[in-house]
Protein backbone atom coordinates (compact mmCIF):
# COMPACT_ATOMS: atom_id res chain seq x y z
CA UNK A 1 0.00 0.00 0.00
CA UNK A 2 3.03 2.28 0.27
CA UNK A 3 2.66 3.71 -3.21
CA UNK A 4 -0.98 4.72 -2.67
CA UNK A 5 -1.32 8.46 -3.08
CA UNK A 6 -4.19 10.62 -1.96
CA UNK A 7 -5.34 12.44 -5.07
CA UNK A 8 -8.64 13.66 -3.71
CA UNK A 9 -10.11 14.05 -0.27
CA UNK A 10 -13.01 15.75 1.37
CA UNK A 11 -12.22 19.35 2.23
CA UNK A 12 -11.48 20.02 5.89
CA UNK A 13 -13.90 22.89 5.52
CA UNK A 14 -16.67 20.29 5.66
CA UNK A 15 -17.56 18.32 8.78
CA UNK A 16 -18.23 14.58 8.96
CA UNK A 17 -22.00 15.05 8.90
CA UNK A 18 -23.88 13.37 6.07
CA UNK A 19 -25.24 16.07 3.79
CA UNK A 20 -29.04 16.10 3.87
CA UNK A 21 -29.42 16.82 0.15
CA UNK A 22 -31.24 14.60 -2.35
CA UNK A 23 -29.19 12.53 -4.80
CA UNK A 24 -28.08 14.62 -7.76
CA UNK A 25 -28.78 17.95 -6.06
CA UNK A 26 -26.03 20.48 -6.79
CA UNK A 27 -26.25 22.07 -3.32
CA UNK A 28 -23.57 19.51 -2.35
CA UNK A 29 -21.14 20.65 -5.05
CA UNK A 30 -21.58 24.26 -4.00
CA UNK A 31 -20.83 23.34 -0.38
CA UNK A 32 -17.64 21.65 -1.49
CA UNK A 33 -16.56 24.76 -3.41
CA UNK A 34 -17.25 27.09 -0.49
CA UNK A 35 -15.33 24.82 1.89
CA UNK A 36 -12.37 24.36 -0.45
CA UNK A 37 -12.12 28.07 -1.21
CA UNK A 38 -12.01 28.99 2.48
CA UNK A 39 -9.40 26.33 3.21
CA UNK A 40 -7.20 27.20 0.25
CA UNK A 41 -7.25 30.88 1.22
CA UNK A 42 -6.51 29.90 4.83
CA UNK A 43 -9.61 31.73 6.07
CA UNK A 44 -11.57 28.90 7.64
CA UNK A 45 -10.59 29.58 11.26
CA UNK A 46 -11.88 33.12 11.09
CA UNK A 47 -15.01 32.43 9.06
CA UNK A 48 -18.59 32.64 10.30
CA UNK A 49 -21.16 31.15 7.94
CA UNK A 50 -24.83 32.07 8.04
CA UNK A 51 -27.31 29.30 7.25
CA UNK A 52 -30.63 30.46 5.91
CA UNK A 53 -34.04 28.79 5.59
CA UNK A 54 -34.41 26.25 2.81
CA UNK A 55 -32.85 22.90 2.02
CA UNK A 56 -29.55 24.32 3.24
CA UNK A 57 -30.94 25.32 6.65
CA UNK A 58 -29.00 22.51 8.31
CA UNK A 59 -25.65 23.43 6.83
CA UNK A 60 -24.53 24.88 10.16
CA UNK A 61 -23.68 21.22 10.76
CA UNK A 62 -21.97 20.70 7.40
CA UNK A 63 -19.34 23.45 7.37
CA UNK A 64 -16.58 23.14 9.93
CA UNK A 65 -16.28 26.87 10.66
CA UNK A 66 -18.37 28.84 13.17
CA UNK A 67 -21.98 29.02 12.00
CA UNK A 68 -25.15 30.93 12.83
CA UNK A 69 -28.60 29.95 11.56
CA UNK A 70 -30.79 32.84 10.35
CA UNK A 71 -34.54 33.38 9.93
CA UNK A 72 -36.01 33.13 6.43
CA UNK A 73 -34.45 35.83 4.27
CA UNK A 74 -32.61 37.60 7.06
CA UNK A 75 -29.14 36.17 6.57
CA UNK A 76 -27.67 39.40 5.11
CA UNK A 77 -28.95 41.35 8.14
CA UNK A 78 -27.49 38.75 10.50
CA UNK A 79 -24.22 38.93 8.55
CA UNK A 80 -24.25 42.73 8.86
CA UNK A 81 -24.81 42.54 12.59
CA UNK A 82 -21.83 40.23 12.99
CA UNK A 83 -19.48 41.93 10.56
CA UNK A 84 -19.87 45.32 12.24
CA UNK A 85 -18.54 43.88 15.49
CA UNK A 86 -16.10 41.34 13.97
CA UNK A 87 -14.45 43.29 11.18
CA UNK A 88 -11.69 40.75 10.62
CA UNK A 89 -13.94 37.73 10.43
CA UNK A 90 -14.95 36.38 7.02
CA UNK A 91 -18.74 36.25 6.80
CA UNK A 92 -20.72 34.40 4.17
CA UNK A 93 -24.43 33.76 3.84
CA UNK A 94 -25.74 30.71 2.01
CA UNK A 95 -29.22 31.43 0.63
CA UNK A 96 -31.71 29.87 -1.76
CA UNK A 97 -33.80 31.82 -4.26
CA UNK A 98 -36.93 31.79 -2.10
CA UNK A 99 -34.87 33.00 0.82
CA UNK A 100 -32.98 35.75 -0.97
CA UNK A 101 -35.10 36.76 -3.97
CA UNK A 102 -38.47 36.68 -2.24
CA UNK A 103 -38.79 37.13 1.53
CA UNK A 104 -35.25 38.45 1.95
CA UNK A 105 -34.90 40.75 -1.05
CA UNK A 106 -34.86 43.88 1.14
CA UNK A 107 -32.10 42.53 3.38
CA UNK A 108 -30.01 41.49 0.37
CA UNK A 109 -30.39 44.80 -1.47
CA UNK A 110 -29.66 46.91 1.59
CA UNK A 111 -26.63 44.88 2.63
CA UNK A 112 -25.29 45.57 -0.87
CA UNK A 113 -26.35 49.22 -0.70
CA UNK A 114 -24.41 49.67 2.53
CA UNK A 115 -21.46 47.97 0.87
CA UNK A 116 -21.27 45.44 3.69
CA UNK A 117 -17.99 43.58 3.45
CA UNK A 118 -19.65 40.16 3.25
CA UNK A 119 -20.10 37.41 0.66
CA UNK A 120 -23.48 36.04 -0.38
CA UNK A 121 -23.60 32.55 -1.85
CA UNK A 122 -26.89 32.62 -3.72
CA UNK A 123 -28.30 29.31 -4.93
CA UNK A 124 -30.83 29.70 -7.75
CA UNK A 125 -32.70 26.47 -8.45
CA UNK A 126 -35.84 28.21 -9.74
CA UNK A 127 -38.02 26.62 -7.06
CA UNK A 128 -38.71 26.32 -3.33
CA UNK A 129 -37.02 23.00 -2.61
CA UNK A 130 -37.48 22.54 1.11
CA UNK A 131 -41.23 23.14 1.25
CA UNK A 132 -42.01 20.80 -1.63
CA UNK A 133 -41.53 22.57 -4.94
CA UNK A 134 -43.55 25.79 -4.88
CA UNK A 135 -43.01 28.66 -7.29
CA UNK A 136 -40.07 30.95 -6.58
CA UNK A 137 -39.44 34.49 -7.89
CA UNK A 138 -36.91 32.77 -10.19
CA UNK A 139 -39.30 30.12 -11.58
CA UNK A 140 -39.28 30.32 -15.41
CA UNK A 141 -42.35 31.33 -17.45
CA UNK A 142 -44.37 28.18 -18.11
CA UNK A 143 -42.49 26.18 -15.47
CA UNK A 144 -44.74 23.82 -13.53
CA UNK A 145 -44.45 23.92 -9.76
CA UNK A 146 -46.88 22.93 -7.00
CA UNK A 147 -48.20 26.50 -6.83
CA UNK A 148 -48.07 27.11 -10.59
CA UNK A 149 -49.62 23.84 -11.67
CA UNK A 150 -50.60 25.21 -15.08
CA UNK A 151 -47.13 26.61 -15.59
CA UNK A 152 -46.01 30.03 -14.36
CA UNK A 153 -48.26 32.52 -16.07
CA UNK A 154 -46.47 35.85 -16.58
CA UNK A 155 -49.85 37.58 -16.85
CA UNK A 156 -50.73 36.85 -13.24
CA UNK A 157 -47.48 35.60 -11.73
CA UNK A 158 -45.03 37.95 -13.35
CA UNK A 159 -41.63 37.29 -14.85
CA UNK A 160 -38.63 35.82 -13.01
CA UNK A 161 -36.26 38.13 -11.16
CA UNK A 162 -32.68 38.26 -12.39
CA UNK A 163 -30.81 38.73 -9.16
CA UNK A 164 -27.25 39.16 -10.45
CA UNK A 165 -28.39 41.78 -12.94
CA UNK A 166 -30.36 43.51 -10.19
CA UNK A 167 -27.55 43.45 -7.63
CA UNK A 168 -25.05 44.74 -10.19
CA UNK A 169 -27.06 47.97 -10.42
CA UNK A 170 -26.55 48.68 -6.72
CA UNK A 171 -23.76 51.24 -6.33
CA UNK A 172 -22.55 49.71 -3.06
CA UNK A 173 -21.88 46.24 -4.52
CA UNK A 174 -18.28 45.40 -5.44
CA UNK A 175 -18.43 42.02 -7.17
CA UNK A 176 -21.35 40.11 -8.68
CA UNK A 177 -20.97 37.01 -10.83
CA UNK A 178 -23.31 34.25 -11.98
CA UNK A 179 -21.81 30.78 -12.28
CA UNK A 180 -22.96 27.20 -12.82
CA UNK A 181 -21.77 23.79 -11.66
CA UNK A 182 -23.19 21.63 -14.45
CA UNK A 183 -19.81 20.33 -15.71
CA UNK A 184 -16.19 20.25 -14.47
CA UNK A 185 -15.17 23.26 -16.52
CA UNK A 186 -17.91 25.37 -14.96
CA UNK A 187 -17.20 23.97 -11.50
CA UNK A 188 -13.64 25.29 -11.83
CA UNK A 189 -14.90 28.67 -12.98
CA UNK A 190 -17.37 28.78 -10.12
CA UNK A 191 -14.64 28.10 -7.61
CA UNK A 192 -12.49 30.85 -9.08
CA UNK A 193 -15.37 33.27 -8.65
CA UNK A 194 -15.94 32.19 -5.04
CA UNK A 195 -12.28 32.54 -4.17
CA UNK A 196 -12.22 35.97 -5.72
CA UNK A 197 -15.24 36.97 -3.64
CA UNK A 198 -13.57 35.81 -0.43
CA UNK A 199 -10.34 37.57 -1.40
CA UNK A 200 -12.26 40.79 -1.98
CA UNK A 201 -13.79 40.41 1.47
CA UNK A 202 -10.44 39.55 3.06
CA UNK A 203 -8.93 42.67 1.48
CA UNK A 204 -11.87 44.73 2.81
CA UNK A 205 -13.01 45.72 -0.65
CA UNK A 206 -16.71 45.24 -0.04
CA UNK A 207 -19.84 43.35 -0.94
CA UNK A 208 -19.81 40.30 -3.17
CA UNK A 209 -22.55 37.97 -4.41
CA UNK A 210 -22.01 34.77 -6.37
CA UNK A 211 -25.16 33.36 -7.92
CA UNK A 212 -25.07 29.63 -8.61
CA UNK A 213 -27.40 28.04 -11.15
CA UNK A 214 -28.39 24.91 -9.25
CA UNK A 215 -30.66 21.91 -9.70
CA UNK A 216 -33.58 20.42 -7.81
CA UNK A 217 -34.12 17.06 -9.49
CA UNK A 218 -36.69 15.98 -6.91
CA UNK A 219 -39.06 18.92 -7.24
CA UNK A 220 -38.40 19.41 -10.93
CA UNK A 221 -39.46 15.75 -11.32
CA UNK A 222 -36.30 14.77 -13.20
CA UNK A 223 -33.34 12.43 -12.96
CA UNK A 224 -30.09 14.04 -11.78
CA UNK A 225 -28.76 14.00 -15.36
CA UNK A 226 -32.06 15.25 -16.74
CA UNK A 227 -32.03 18.09 -14.23
CA UNK A 228 -28.53 19.20 -15.23
CA UNK A 229 -29.54 19.14 -18.90
CA UNK A 230 -32.70 21.11 -18.15
CA UNK A 231 -30.66 23.72 -16.29
CA UNK A 232 -28.28 24.09 -19.24
CA UNK A 233 -31.10 24.25 -21.81
CA UNK A 234 -33.52 26.45 -19.89
CA UNK A 235 -32.03 28.24 -16.88
CA UNK A 236 -28.72 29.39 -18.32
CA UNK A 237 -30.32 31.00 -21.42
CA UNK A 238 -32.62 33.04 -19.13
CA UNK A 239 -29.88 33.60 -16.54
CA UNK A 240 -26.68 34.13 -18.57
CA UNK A 241 -23.45 33.29 -16.79
CA UNK A 242 -20.71 35.84 -16.31
CA UNK A 243 -19.36 38.76 -14.33
CA UNK A 244 -22.05 41.40 -13.84
CA UNK A 245 -19.98 43.74 -11.77
CA UNK A 246 -16.40 43.85 -10.60
CA UNK A 247 -15.24 47.18 -9.23
CA UNK A 248 -11.77 45.72 -8.71
CA UNK A 249 -11.47 45.26 -12.50
CA UNK A 250 -13.42 48.33 -13.50
CA UNK A 251 -16.40 46.26 -14.69
CA UNK A 252 -19.59 48.12 -13.76
Amino acid sequence: MSNVKTVYKKSEGLSDFHLSYCPGCTHGVIHKLVAESLVELDLLDRTIGISSVGCSALNYDFFSCDMQQAAHGRAPAVATGIKRVKKDAIIFTYQGDGDLASIGIAEAIHAAARGENITIVFVNNAIYGMTGGQMAPTTLPGQITTTSQNGRDPETQGLPLKISELMATIPGATYVERVSVHDPKHVFKAKKALKKAFEIQRDKKGFSLIEFISTCPVNWGMTPKGAVDWAVDNLIPYYPLGVYKDKTEGIE
Binding site: S15, L44, D45, R46, T47, I48, I50, S51, A57, L58, Y60, D61, S64, C65, D66, M67, Q68, Q69, A70, A71, R74, A77, V78, A79, T80, G81, I82, R84, V85, K86, D88, A89, I90, I91, A106, E107, I109, H110, R114
Partner: protein, 355 residues
Amino acid sequence: MAKVLMKGNEAMALAAIKAGLDAFYGYPITPQNELPEYLSKQMPLHGRAFVQAESEVAAINMVYGAAGAGARVMTSSSSPGIALKQEGLTYIAGAELPAVIINVMRGGPGLGGIQPSQADYKQITRGGGNGDYYLYSLAPESLQEAVDLIKESFDIADYFRNPVMIAVDGLIGQMMEPVDFEREVPKWDLKPKTWAADGNRKNRKKNIINSLYLDPNDLENHNLKLKAKYDEMRDKHQRYEMINMENAEIVIVAFGSTSRISRTAIELLKEEGINCGIIRPITIYPFPQNAFNEIPESVKNILVVEMNLGQMVDDVKLHVQGRLPVHFYGRVGGIVPEAEEISDQVKKIVGGTYE
Protein backbone atom coordinates in the same frame (compact mmCIF):
# COMPACT_ATOMS: atom_id res chain seq x y z
CA MET B 1 -20.69 62.54 39.87
CA ALA B 2 -23.18 65.35 39.71
CA LYS B 3 -26.54 64.82 38.15
CA VAL B 4 -26.97 65.70 34.49
CA LEU B 5 -30.16 67.10 33.02
CA MET B 6 -30.97 65.05 29.94
CA LYS B 7 -33.88 64.05 27.75
CA GLY B 8 -35.14 60.55 28.51
CA ASN B 9 -34.32 58.93 25.17
CA GLU B 10 -30.77 60.34 25.16
CA ALA B 11 -30.18 59.39 28.78
CA MET B 12 -31.21 55.80 28.03
CA ALA B 13 -28.80 55.74 25.10
CA LEU B 14 -25.95 57.02 27.25
CA ALA B 15 -26.75 54.42 29.92
CA ALA B 16 -26.27 51.70 27.31
CA ILE B 17 -22.89 53.14 26.31
CA LYS B 18 -21.90 53.14 29.99
CA ALA B 19 -22.85 49.46 30.14
CA GLY B 20 -20.36 48.68 27.37
CA LEU B 21 -22.65 48.68 24.35
CA ASP B 22 -20.70 47.32 21.34
CA ALA B 23 -23.38 47.76 18.71
CA PHE B 24 -26.73 49.44 18.13
CA TYR B 25 -29.04 48.58 15.24
CA GLY B 26 -32.35 50.39 14.83
CA TYR B 27 -34.99 51.92 12.61
CA PRO B 28 -36.63 55.33 13.11
CA ILE B 29 -40.00 55.55 14.88
CA THR B 30 -41.56 58.19 17.13
CA PRO B 31 -41.37 58.59 20.16
CA GLN B 32 -37.90 57.06 20.52
CA ASN B 33 -35.96 58.79 17.72
CA GLU B 34 -33.63 60.79 19.97
CA LEU B 35 -32.17 57.51 21.20
CA PRO B 36 -30.72 56.25 17.87
CA GLU B 37 -29.97 59.83 16.82
CA TYR B 38 -27.78 60.29 19.87
CA LEU B 39 -26.07 56.93 19.30
CA SER B 40 -25.46 57.68 15.61
CA LYS B 41 -23.09 60.35 16.82
CA GLN B 42 -21.69 58.74 19.96
CA MET B 43 -21.11 55.14 18.86
CA PRO B 44 -18.66 55.93 16.04
CA LEU B 45 -16.81 58.32 18.39
CA HIS B 46 -16.35 55.39 20.78
CA GLY B 47 -15.27 53.07 17.92
CA ARG B 48 -18.48 51.08 18.24
CA ALA B 49 -21.05 49.97 15.68
CA PHE B 50 -24.17 51.87 14.69
CA VAL B 51 -26.38 50.89 11.76
CA GLN B 52 -29.67 52.44 10.73
CA ALA B 53 -31.24 49.31 9.29
CA GLU B 54 -33.71 49.12 6.41
CA SER B 55 -36.49 47.95 8.74
CA GLU B 56 -37.16 46.79 12.27
CA VAL B 57 -37.03 43.24 10.95
CA ALA B 58 -33.52 43.77 9.64
CA ALA B 59 -32.47 45.65 12.79
CA ILE B 60 -33.45 42.85 15.15
CA ASN B 61 -31.80 40.27 12.91
CA MET B 62 -28.63 42.35 13.03
CA VAL B 63 -28.97 42.26 16.81
CA TYR B 64 -29.31 38.48 16.60
CA GLY B 65 -26.11 38.30 14.54
CA ALA B 66 -24.01 40.50 16.81
CA ALA B 67 -25.33 38.76 19.92
CA GLY B 68 -24.34 35.41 18.41
CA ALA B 69 -20.83 36.76 17.90
CA GLY B 70 -20.67 37.66 21.61
CA ALA B 71 -21.20 41.43 21.42
CA ARG B 72 -23.19 43.61 23.80
CA VAL B 73 -25.94 44.76 21.49
CA MET B 74 -29.13 46.77 21.72
CA THR B 75 -32.02 47.99 19.60
CA SER B 76 -34.81 50.38 20.42
CA SER B 77 -38.20 50.95 18.91
CA SER B 78 -41.82 51.71 19.68
CA SER B 79 -44.89 49.50 19.62
CA PRO B 80 -45.52 48.90 15.86
CA GLY B 81 -41.78 48.45 15.41
CA ILE B 82 -41.66 46.02 18.31
CA ALA B 83 -44.39 44.02 16.57
CA LEU B 84 -42.06 43.67 13.57
CA LYS B 85 -39.18 42.68 15.81
CA GLN B 86 -41.02 39.64 17.15
CA GLU B 87 -39.46 37.40 14.50
CA GLY B 88 -35.96 38.23 15.64
CA LEU B 89 -36.87 38.14 19.32
CA THR B 90 -38.10 34.56 19.16
CA TYR B 91 -34.89 33.56 17.34
CA ILE B 92 -32.75 35.36 19.93
CA ALA B 93 -34.59 33.65 22.78
CA GLY B 94 -34.56 30.31 20.94
CA ALA B 95 -30.83 30.48 20.26
CA GLU B 96 -30.26 31.65 23.87
CA LEU B 97 -28.58 34.95 23.11
CA PRO B 98 -28.33 38.08 25.24
CA ALA B 99 -29.65 41.37 23.88
CA VAL B 100 -31.36 44.49 25.19
CA ILE B 101 -34.46 45.97 23.55
CA ILE B 102 -35.89 49.32 24.56
CA ASN B 103 -39.59 49.77 23.82
CA VAL B 104 -40.84 53.35 24.13
CA MET B 105 -44.51 52.43 23.93
CA ARG B 106 -47.15 54.31 21.94
CA GLY B 107 -50.83 53.67 21.37
CA GLY B 108 -52.36 51.19 18.94
CA PRO B 109 -53.74 49.12 17.35
CA GLY B 110 -52.33 49.62 13.87
CA LEU B 111 -50.50 52.87 13.40
CA GLY B 112 -52.32 54.08 16.52
CA GLY B 113 -50.80 57.30 17.75
CA ILE B 114 -47.50 58.67 18.97
CA GLN B 115 -48.50 59.59 22.52
CA PRO B 116 -47.63 57.58 25.65
CA SER B 117 -49.26 54.21 26.17
CA GLN B 118 -48.86 50.93 28.03
CA ALA B 119 -50.83 48.93 25.49
CA ASP B 120 -47.87 46.64 24.73
CA TYR B 121 -48.15 44.91 28.11
CA LYS B 122 -49.37 41.69 26.54
CA GLN B 123 -47.08 41.95 23.51
CA ILE B 124 -44.18 42.20 25.96
CA THR B 125 -45.11 39.77 28.70
CA ARG B 126 -46.43 36.89 26.59
CA GLY B 127 -43.27 36.42 24.59
CA GLY B 128 -44.70 38.10 21.52
CA GLY B 129 -43.37 35.82 18.79
CA ASN B 130 -43.91 32.13 18.11
CA GLY B 131 -43.02 29.41 20.58
CA ASP B 132 -42.63 29.09 24.33
CA TYR B 133 -40.32 31.90 25.41
CA TYR B 134 -40.32 35.07 27.48
CA LEU B 135 -38.40 38.30 27.68
CA TYR B 136 -37.12 39.43 31.07
CA SER B 137 -38.98 42.75 31.08
CA LEU B 138 -38.29 45.79 33.22
CA ALA B 139 -40.65 48.76 33.52
CA PRO B 140 -38.95 51.77 35.15
CA GLU B 141 -41.06 54.67 36.45
CA SER B 142 -38.42 57.43 36.32
CA LEU B 143 -35.48 58.36 34.18
CA GLN B 144 -33.00 57.57 36.94
CA GLU B 145 -34.51 54.12 37.34
CA ALA B 146 -34.48 53.62 33.55
CA VAL B 147 -30.79 54.50 33.43
CA ASP B 148 -29.94 52.21 36.35
CA LEU B 149 -31.93 49.31 34.92
CA ILE B 150 -30.47 49.71 31.43
CA LYS B 151 -26.96 49.63 32.88
CA GLU B 152 -27.83 46.41 34.71
CA SER B 153 -29.91 44.90 31.89
CA PHE B 154 -26.86 43.90 29.84
CA ASP B 155 -25.64 41.80 32.75
CA ILE B 156 -29.09 40.28 33.19
CA ALA B 157 -29.23 39.42 29.48
CA ASP B 158 -25.76 37.87 29.62
CA TYR B 159 -26.58 35.95 32.78
CA PHE B 160 -29.74 34.37 31.41
CA ARG B 161 -28.61 34.34 27.77
CA ASN B 162 -32.02 35.76 27.03
CA PRO B 163 -33.32 39.05 25.63
CA VAL B 164 -34.20 41.74 28.15
CA MET B 165 -36.83 44.34 27.32
CA ILE B 166 -36.93 47.78 28.87
CA ALA B 167 -40.55 48.91 28.65
CA VAL B 168 -41.13 52.62 29.05
CA ASP B 169 -43.76 54.90 27.60
CA GLY B 170 -43.36 58.06 25.56
CA LEU B 171 -43.57 60.09 28.78
CA ILE B 172 -40.25 58.74 30.06
CA GLY B 173 -38.69 58.92 26.59
CA GLN B 174 -39.57 62.58 26.17
CA MET B 175 -39.17 63.95 29.71
CA MET B 176 -36.15 65.89 30.97
CA GLU B 177 -34.92 64.82 34.38
CA PRO B 178 -31.65 65.07 36.29
CA VAL B 179 -29.82 61.74 36.18
CA ASP B 180 -26.77 60.37 37.93
CA PHE B 181 -25.00 58.02 35.53
CA GLU B 182 -22.43 56.79 38.02
CA ARG B 183 -24.82 55.21 40.52
CA GLU B 184 -23.77 51.67 41.40
CA VAL B 185 -25.97 48.96 39.96
CA PRO B 186 -25.85 45.27 40.93
CA LYS B 187 -23.15 43.27 39.13
CA TRP B 188 -24.13 39.79 38.02
CA ASP B 189 -21.87 36.77 38.09
CA LEU B 190 -21.08 36.27 34.41
CA LYS B 191 -19.25 33.49 32.64
CA PRO B 192 -17.09 34.08 29.56
CA LYS B 193 -19.03 33.72 26.30
CA THR B 194 -17.29 30.53 25.18
CA TRP B 195 -20.38 29.67 23.12
CA ALA B 196 -20.07 32.66 20.76
CA ALA B 197 -19.68 32.05 17.02
CA ASP B 198 -17.18 34.87 16.74
CA GLY B 199 -14.93 33.57 13.98
CA ASN B 200 -12.09 32.80 16.32
CA ARG B 201 -11.95 29.02 15.95
CA LYS B 202 -8.19 28.55 16.19
CA ASN B 203 -8.00 26.87 19.57
CA ARG B 204 -11.46 25.48 20.03
CA LYS B 205 -14.20 23.47 18.36
CA LYS B 206 -16.59 25.29 16.07
CA ASN B 207 -19.51 27.11 17.67
CA ILE B 208 -23.04 27.04 16.29
CA ILE B 209 -25.81 29.53 17.03
CA ASN B 210 -29.11 27.90 16.24
CA SER B 211 -32.76 27.53 17.23
CA LEU B 212 -33.65 24.61 14.92
CA TYR B 213 -34.27 21.20 16.51
CA LEU B 214 -35.91 18.82 14.05
CA ASP B 215 -35.98 15.86 16.45
CA PRO B 216 -39.04 16.25 18.73
CA ASN B 217 -37.11 14.90 21.73
CA ASP B 218 -34.34 17.42 21.19
CA LEU B 219 -36.80 20.28 20.86
CA GLU B 220 -38.69 19.21 23.96
CA ASN B 221 -35.44 19.11 25.92
CA HIS B 222 -34.51 22.52 24.57
CA ASN B 223 -37.93 23.90 25.54
CA LEU B 224 -37.55 22.47 29.04
CA LYS B 225 -34.10 24.01 29.35
CA LEU B 226 -35.55 27.39 28.40
CA LYS B 227 -38.38 26.88 30.89
CA ALA B 228 -35.85 26.33 33.66
CA LYS B 229 -34.56 29.84 32.99
CA TYR B 230 -38.04 31.34 33.13
CA ASP B 231 -38.66 29.43 36.35
CA GLU B 232 -35.46 30.87 37.81
CA MET B 233 -36.56 34.37 36.78
CA ARG B 234 -39.91 33.82 38.50
CA ASP B 235 -38.47 32.20 41.63
CA LYS B 236 -35.51 34.48 42.23
CA HIS B 237 -35.72 37.63 40.15
CA GLN B 238 -39.15 39.20 40.53
CA ARG B 239 -38.82 42.89 41.29
CA TYR B 240 -41.42 45.17 42.75
CA GLU B 241 -41.92 47.97 45.18
CA MET B 242 -44.57 48.03 47.94
CA ILE B 243 -45.49 51.61 48.78
CA ASN B 244 -47.49 52.84 51.79
CA MET B 245 -48.86 49.38 52.57
CA GLU B 246 -49.17 49.72 56.34
CA ASN B 247 -52.84 49.92 57.30
CA ALA B 248 -53.81 50.50 53.66
CA GLU B 249 -57.45 49.79 52.97
CA ILE B 250 -56.97 49.70 49.20
CA VAL B 251 -54.01 49.04 46.95
CA ILE B 252 -53.28 50.42 43.50
CA VAL B 253 -51.30 48.18 41.15
CA ALA B 254 -49.51 50.21 38.49
CA PHE B 255 -46.19 50.15 36.61
CA GLY B 256 -44.08 52.78 34.86
CA SER B 257 -45.54 56.28 34.47
CA THR B 258 -48.91 55.26 35.92
CA SER B 259 -47.30 54.18 39.18
CA ARG B 260 -45.55 57.52 39.38
CA ILE B 261 -48.84 59.35 38.95
CA SER B 262 -50.41 57.02 41.51
CA ARG B 263 -47.82 58.21 44.04
CA THR B 264 -49.34 61.68 43.75
CA ALA B 265 -52.84 60.19 43.93
CA ILE B 266 -52.17 58.48 47.27
CA GLU B 267 -50.93 61.78 48.72
CA LEU B 268 -54.22 63.41 47.70
CA LEU B 269 -56.07 60.50 49.29
CA LYS B 270 -54.10 60.83 52.54
CA GLU B 271 -55.39 64.40 52.84
CA GLU B 272 -58.89 62.94 52.78
CA GLY B 273 -58.04 60.30 55.35
CA ILE B 274 -57.88 57.38 52.90
CA ASN B 275 -54.90 55.09 53.29
CA CYS B 276 -54.02 53.73 49.86
CA GLY B 277 -50.98 51.57 49.06
CA ILE B 278 -49.26 50.85 45.75
CA ILE B 279 -47.79 47.65 44.38
CA ARG B 280 -45.40 48.74 41.66
CA PRO B 281 -44.18 45.93 39.41
CA ILE B 282 -40.62 46.65 38.26
CA THR B 283 -40.43 43.39 36.37
CA ILE B 284 -43.57 42.92 34.31
CA TYR B 285 -42.09 39.58 33.24
CA PRO B 286 -41.64 37.74 35.54
CA PHE B 287 -44.85 39.13 37.00
CA PRO B 288 -44.19 40.02 40.66
CA GLN B 289 -46.71 37.55 42.03
CA ASN B 290 -44.94 37.42 45.41
CA ALA B 291 -46.15 40.95 46.12
CA PHE B 292 -49.70 39.66 46.31
CA ASN B 293 -48.80 37.33 49.17
CA GLU B 294 -47.54 40.30 51.16
CA ILE B 295 -50.73 42.36 51.04
CA PRO B 296 -51.77 43.18 54.64
CA GLU B 297 -55.11 42.10 56.13
CA SER B 298 -56.28 45.70 56.18
CA VAL B 299 -56.60 45.79 52.38
CA LYS B 300 -60.14 45.25 51.11
CA ASN B 301 -59.85 46.22 47.41
CA ILE B 302 -57.36 46.34 44.57
CA LEU B 303 -57.40 48.90 41.77
CA VAL B 304 -55.27 48.29 38.70
CA VAL B 305 -54.39 51.45 36.77
CA GLU B 306 -52.95 51.20 33.28
CA MET B 307 -52.64 53.25 30.10
CA ASN B 308 -54.54 50.58 28.18
CA LEU B 309 -57.96 49.00 28.42
CA GLY B 310 -57.02 46.31 30.90
CA GLN B 311 -54.02 44.07 30.23
CA MET B 312 -51.99 43.65 33.42
CA VAL B 313 -55.27 43.42 35.31
CA ASP B 314 -55.54 39.82 34.03
CA ASP B 315 -52.25 38.91 35.71
CA VAL B 316 -53.33 40.63 38.90
CA LYS B 317 -56.56 38.61 38.97
CA LEU B 318 -54.61 35.43 38.28
CA HIS B 319 -52.48 35.95 41.35
CA VAL B 320 -55.10 37.46 43.66
CA GLN B 321 -57.17 34.37 42.92
CA GLY B 322 -60.43 35.87 44.03
CA ARG B 323 -59.19 36.74 47.51
CA LEU B 324 -60.03 40.42 46.95
CA PRO B 325 -62.14 42.36 44.46
CA VAL B 326 -59.96 43.63 41.59
CA HIS B 327 -61.07 46.86 39.90
CA PHE B 328 -59.63 48.50 36.81
CA TYR B 329 -59.13 52.04 35.59
CA GLY B 330 -57.45 52.85 32.28
CA ARG B 331 -56.96 55.72 29.86
CA VAL B 332 -55.97 55.16 26.25
CA GLY B 333 -55.27 56.97 23.03
CA GLY B 334 -52.23 58.65 24.49
CA ILE B 335 -54.16 60.27 27.33
CA VAL B 336 -52.25 60.08 30.59
CA PRO B 337 -54.51 59.72 33.65
CA GLU B 338 -54.34 62.57 36.14
CA ALA B 339 -53.69 61.92 39.82
CA GLU B 340 -57.18 63.32 40.60
CA GLU B 341 -58.82 60.83 38.26
CA ILE B 342 -57.08 57.98 40.03
CA SER B 343 -57.90 59.25 43.50
CA ASP B 344 -61.54 59.69 42.41
CA GLN B 345 -61.62 56.05 41.35
CA VAL B 346 -60.22 55.02 44.71
CA LYS B 347 -62.81 57.10 46.54
CA LYS B 348 -65.61 55.52 44.53
CA ILE B 349 -64.40 52.05 45.42
CA VAL B 350 -63.81 52.84 49.07
CA GLY B 351 -67.19 54.56 49.21
CA GLY B 352 -68.72 51.49 47.62
CA THR B 353 -70.15 53.33 44.64
CA TYR B 354 -67.83 51.75 42.08
CA GLU B 355 -69.85 50.29 39.28
